[in-house]
């Protein structure tokens, strides 16, 4: 255990340092070549009429912070979900939670046009809760429904169903093009206001996640064991879901649906620091932040002069990893 502890601190320190480096690289490199001196001036001697200064301040900085924030939130969500369900394939985008969020936003667009950003966030949170409840509820009702692959299949089916409903509603009410706006993640459109809006939710979700990390370790050994240890399993599960819903909901609300971050990063983290969720949750968040930060950077340079949608970049890494996980851990065996 000591070596794991030492490892955790090393990895956390390393991840934090790399995060700073990632922000600096993201701010300095983009479509428009901007000199380092100019970027520095944008921070210390901001000139409203200088286009480069404006790009640094209103586009690149919020975008870099947004990528890190969302990467962290999604990876922490994935870690909690994998612990709670004892399912290595669990993640917000696979378990219907992101699709629920998109579904609620569609409903809101169709029936309550012109809702404020804040209201959208509310619908997004409610929708992710709905997606989660549907998938977990049905998995309980079906025989064998909580085996890893079965749940992933259920989540995918439910996600596709909600996605299909969203699209049907959208085309009926002729808001379909706007929905694709929510589907297609858009880190480059993140404004400083959106970051401000997201930070309280992100903080609340992450703090709750850290609190749930300790009981999660026991829960990941099985519900009976957790109950025997004197834990209130229902309460723990509800609070964990709440945390996941807040973190995923706010991510979808500001950037759309981004897949695979919540799936891959918790695994890599578990591989690095062992099975204790007090380490897995915070370090997943750090590594998830780094991962999405770098995916965002890659998206700017993969197909110049245009940007590649962020979802394509995460899928490049995510799909092979998902298949690998199904092959190695997908059968009835939980870890």
């Amino acid at each position: 255990m000591r070596s794991f502890k030492w490892k955790t601190w090393t990895f956390s320190g390393l991840a934090l340092a790399l995060m700073v480096v990632t922000v600096i690289i993201s701010v300095l490199h983009g479509t428009k070549p901007i000199r380092y001196e100019t970027a520095w001036e944008a921070l210390v001697h901001f000139d409203e009429g200088n286009v480069d200064h404006q790009i640094i301040r209103t586009s690149r900085i919020p975008r870099a912070i947004g990528a890190l924030l969302i990467g962290g939130l999604l990876a922490a969500s994935g870690a909690l979900m994998q612990g709670m369900t004892r399912n290595p394939l669990a993640s917000p985008s696979i378990m219907g939670i992101s699709d629920g969020s998109v579904f609620a936003i569609t409903l809101c667009m169709a029936f309550l046009p012109g809702a404020s950003n804040m209201a959208m966030v509310g619908y997004s949170l409610a929708g992710s809760a709905l997606g989660g409840v549907l998938v977990f509820g049905i998995s309980r009702l079906l025989p064998g429904g909580s085996s890893p692959v079965m749940m992933a299949v259920l989540g995918t089916v439910m996600g596709t169903f909600l996605g299909g409903l969203s699209q049907a509603l959208a085309s009926y009410y002729q808001v379909s093009q706007n929905i694709s706006f929510w589907y297609n993640a858009r880190l480059h459109g993140i404004s400083p206001d959106m970051i401000q809006l997201a930070i309280p939710f992100a903080a609340a979700g992450l703090i709750l996640a850290l609190f749930m990390a300790r009981p999660m370790t026991a829960l990941s050994l099985g519900e009976e064991i957790a109950a025997e240890l004197g834990m209130n399993v229902k309460l723990i599960k509800s609070l964990t879901m709440l945390s996941v819903v807040i973190m995923t909901g706010i991510s979808v609300a500001i950037a759309g649906k981004i897949a695979f971050v919540g799936l891959i990063l918790p695994h890599i983290t578990r591989f690095l620091v062992g099975p204790d969720y007090r380490r897995i949750v915070p370090l997943s968040a750090l590594l998830g932040a780094l991962f999405l930060g770098w995916c965002d950077l890659i998206s700017r340079f993969l197909n110049p002069p245009f940007e590649v949608p962020i979802g394509v970049v995460t899928a490049l890494f995510g799909v092979p990893y998902f298949l690998y996980l199904i092959k190695t851990r997908g059968g009835g065996r939980s870890e």
Binding site: V51, Q174, V175, H188, P305
Partner: protein
Amino acid sequence: MFKIAPTILVSHQAVDWEDNLRLLAEVTGKQEAAEQAIQQYKSDLEGAKATLTEKLGDQTVMAIRIRTGKLFIYPESVFFNPILYGDLGLKVPAEVSAAKAQEEITIEQLATINPDQLFIQFAADENKETATALDEFLNNPIVKNVAAVKNDKVYVNVIDPLSEGGPAWSRIEFLKAALERLSE
């Protein structure tokens, strides 16, 4: 057997506009009017081209479309681009030559291209949930520093925002509108 009424396929490609017009003229028996319209377009073009090329020199002229709050550009042979770059012979921005289909560009990219004159097509129908997208775009602090915006050379919906330069009507009308704005 199925019965299908006589069906004529008409291309919506901007580069086929003359053949299209002639085809429809043949169907409706208005060949003369069609030839006249095509000749008129060509003479409008010839009359303006020389002075315009001289006046605009090295300036970058671009046409974008805002849909669902996002900015889109098109390949050289699509949208108003054949008129701007093909017919009027203006300088083609690298991003437009690189576009293979409708491509989304970021605000940072637009600032990199830094067009001197900018045509924007913004249809309310395509921006139902992003009704304020055009205002937000024009008030974006980065966009405000783009040459065309700074110098008040932004032209919004010079013709109906859903006509996209393909068929004869939008081509003829866009040329008129563009010449008027660009020669100011």
